[in-house]
Symmetry: C2
Subunit: 220 residues, 2 copies
């Protein structure tokens, strides 16, 4: 076997040993990420061959196995890569103590932009996320937790500034909003391209507005 760098599968997503040699690897990895994102998003992880990915990236099959240990490892790193991008966008929303509801809205807007820009990643996510015994179970659990934490803290912000319905659990609401972002974004891409970003955001925000109670807290 050659001296493949391969990259840590369970690394903290930050590029740990990137600096060893800038070389061409990072550019190659990037190309492989982009190519495989599209292909896998379209036909599913199992429906795409390594040869196809290599060809689409303008690279040889050997290079794939030089940069990644396996097809499975490539996909795991691809998931981290996508989540890193999404996380960066979500965290770019200033958590100013102004209106937490507005912050939430901006976050959802960022998510919608991400879905529009990386629809293939969104497809990959929803395609593989809920598979029961999956090779990426642990990867998904970790990444999902990281994303939900961000949404959760945004919800907390709202709950701290407004009276909210105690009958709605934070966890379920996180899930509903998180999932709605993916689904609404994908649906727009696939079936309703005429729908605007604002319409989509408004539809998802409806659940937040329903979360804050109409009348001042009944009594609870």
């Amino acid at each position: 076997m050659t001296t493949s760098p391969s990259g840590g599968s369970t690394a903290g997503s930050a590029d740990a040993e990137k600096k060893l040699r800038p070389g061409r690897t990072n550019a190659t990895k990037q190309k492989l990420f982009e190519a495989s994102m599209d292909l896998i998003g379209e036909r599913g992880a199992a429906g795409v061959t390594v040869d196809e990915i290599a060809t689409a990236a303008g690279v040889s099959k050997g290079t794939v196995y030089y940069n990644f240990g396996s097809k499975s490892d490539l996909i795991a790193q691809l998931l981290r890569h996508g989540v890193d991008i999404l996380m960066a966008r979500l965290l770019s929303v200033r958590d100013d103590s102004a209106d937490p509801l507005a912050a939430m809205e901006e976050m959802i807007g960022q998510a919608m932009d991400f879905m529009a820009e990386y629809p293939s990643f969104a497809r990959l996510w929803v395609s593989e996320n809920w598979r029961t015994p999956s090779e990426w179970q642990d990867t998904f659990a970790e990444l999902r937790g990281r994303l939900l934490a961000v949404i959760g803290s945004a919800i907390d912000g709202v709950a701290a500034a407004y009276p909210v319905d105690p009958g709605v659990s934070r966890g379920s609401l996180e899930t509903a909003i998180f999932g709605a972002c993916f689904v609404v974004g994908l649906d727009r891409q696939t079936y309703n391209p005429e729908r605007t970003r604002e319409q989509s955001v408004a539809a998802i925000m409806a659940s937040m507005r329903g979360y804050v109670v109409k009348q001042p807290p009944a009594q609870a």
Copy 2:
């Protein structure tokens, strides 16, 4: 070739020529549906072999091709089969003119029950629904439309009885709720089995409550 029945792919879901010969075919098809639902839900359409499906159904590979024209056809009919079940449940909700919001809530509850009972179908749906050039594009478009129509009319019912936010388009809201049902149901199954049915319904219903305006119609 033998005289395969194969079943109409675009039939209106009602069993048309069931009586010609009771035979074993219907029972066999049912077994194949159940087996493939589970397997495909777990590992994806491309990740399951016809041999596996046949074995799981306690039937030979040839029987699969006797009852269905191809693996693809099996899956298309499987999708219709699942949607028929879900539709029946959604339509079982009495559309009494009482409280449309309560009707909506019951419908979401029915959807949650369905997701709990057929999680594999839900996984199959979200896995394949948004694939761009897919063999089942048309099938999905049709079935999606049928389901959305039911949800849409429930939303209409609410909009007719309450003052609603005109800034939220009906279509986007349909999508958000529809998608949330799948995602919340799957997430409960996969990551949060401790969550109750009521919590999940409440989280999804939040978007309906946010859809009806708090104060009597502002002015629009």
